[in-house]
Symmetry: C2
Subunit: 345 residues, 2 copies
Amino acid sequence: MRKIKAISYGVGNIGRDIARFMVDKGVIITGAIDLRNVGQDLGDVIGSGRKLNVQISDNADEVLAKTSADIALIAVATAMEKIYPHVKRCLEAGLNVITTSEEASYAWTSSPAIAAKLDQIAKENGVTVTGSGMQDVFWVNLITALTGASHRIESVEGRAMINMDELGPMVAEFYAVGRKADDIYAMIERKEKLPLGDEVVCLRMDLENQIAGLGLTTKSITESVRPIILDHDLPCKAFNRIIPAGDVTGLDNTIVIETAEGILFQATQTAKVYEPGEYDINEWLIRGTPTIHLRNDRPPTLLGTSSQIVNRIPDVINARPGYVTIDELPKLVCKVRSLEHYLTS
Amino acid sequence: MRKIKAISYGVGNIGRDIARFMVDKGVIITGAIDLRNVGQDLGDVIGSGRKLNVQISDNADEVLAKTSADIALIAVATAMEKIYPHVKRCLEAGLNVITTSEEASYAWTSSPAIAAKLDQIAKENGVTVTGSGMQDVFWVNLITALTGASHRIESVEGRAMINMDELGPMVAEFYAVGRKADDIYAMIERKEKLPLGDEVVCLRMDLENQIAGLGLTTKSITESVRPIILDHDLPCKAFNRIIPAGDVTGLDNTIVIETAEGILFQATQTAKVYEPGEYDINEWLIRGTPTIHLRNDRPPTLLGTSSQIVNRIPDVINARPGYVTIDELPKLVCKVRSLEHYLTS
């Protein structure tokens, strides 16, 4: 049985875990692409304790031209517009692709032209492109699995909480941490985009994935943002300062999707600097007959992204050609053995 | 598109909900079998508010001989030995079967001869037999879905709690409620079977289903029982009396399964008379990289059994012939439309 060969495309925080997990599950990494650590051995950069004899290169076209592989793992950006050129060149080189891009997990309505173009390029090259990550288990497949116990669904309601103090100052800035409340209210009044970076509010894609997985049809999508403001000072590690009472400590992003079938999907992502004792939460309520409640405390937001993507590798190689969203892929379970054992051909 | 036709085989508490849900999802019930309410219209017995023009009969062979259907929903007993003749005659009549039998959800090791025989009869008749119910979502598929976020698993540990005070005096007797502690300790010493009825401890089957779903191999199965004894009196609705301090109020059943791959599966089912403020719990911990925790409070134990079985109807009609366990079936999701829309042929 031949081993799976992969290219590590993006070797940042998430890309390093993906590469470590791939090596541990018997994947041969044949190329590594990043703008940082150019010329260094991938084994050193991911802390695997041994050389992998793969030098990190900043010349993606050259790596793809001279390297054979089954799949590229792309961890470079969130928005479809930003990942498009990277995905395109991998598909054209005949590689399957899994990207960590949150938007790619369901881009059919948010970036329809790019999604259709990638679908076409993938089909022309007989390969598959998928967006996966933390959402695959915790915000999509766990929830659709829960609906298996529903006779009638009135609404699906979710709540996810992430700590802006753990993701560095750039992400904290995206989420308006430390800004004046009046400025943020004025931006919301003017309908300016929040968060402030290219971050896509991932729960929208997740709800669309759930809707597709249940065979339903989206009728309308409403997004709204609310700044989170405390009546007391809060220390912020990301900026190494105190956020004074009355300033913004994060954002609540709420997505409401009405379906043609009358079932309401709604989720709020709270991204803020935590107060003492707060921790990540993933909580869902499916109202209907019967009503069902689920809660994950402290979901593994960072490691879980990498583990889910690596578990998806054989599923994506096995999948039909084209842009395939995770609702269409098989049950995602832990791949206990070397990944080549899960290939169907 | 032709409607799905079904036979309601067993019209007790669970069978009535199954029939109601089938009618609501566009299934035509063509026959009903039970020893109670013989001659009554099924619509009256299930409280559907209208006649269904199907009279309940206690003559299963006659119903099967003169009634055409795609599938039989069998809700008559828990143990494979008890359901065998009922399942056999439905398969021989050319019907697919879903049974509520907990043991049927994975009988390959607990009743291998019966499982193999049903597999053979089903294949000879080109139909499928499956055991489903509450375990499909809450004790099997939700847990294997969670493992999709595991890179490495050390152990899977579960805990389910059910209230003996809600399931009537017969089930409470099975679980030794109200017995003298010394009698139960003596039975455990003599390795006598507990619970006392034909109840199969369902979590064993669920762990075996999970193990099969992950492609692992069972090495050893250990079952143990512990009586639950309080230091204070407890009112018991099922028997309409007070259980005095020191007597048994229920049982903890613990199953430990070692796999050849070194991953440990362990679950405890607590079946007892609840104290004030207690409620059903479904809680799982997957230890490993990363460690993942999930909790459902107040899972819908009764309605959920029926909703899951009815959602499985198209999956089972679509499945390959033979005895098929739920780990092999597709992702179970809520079937929002009339069930015939989910048939693949």
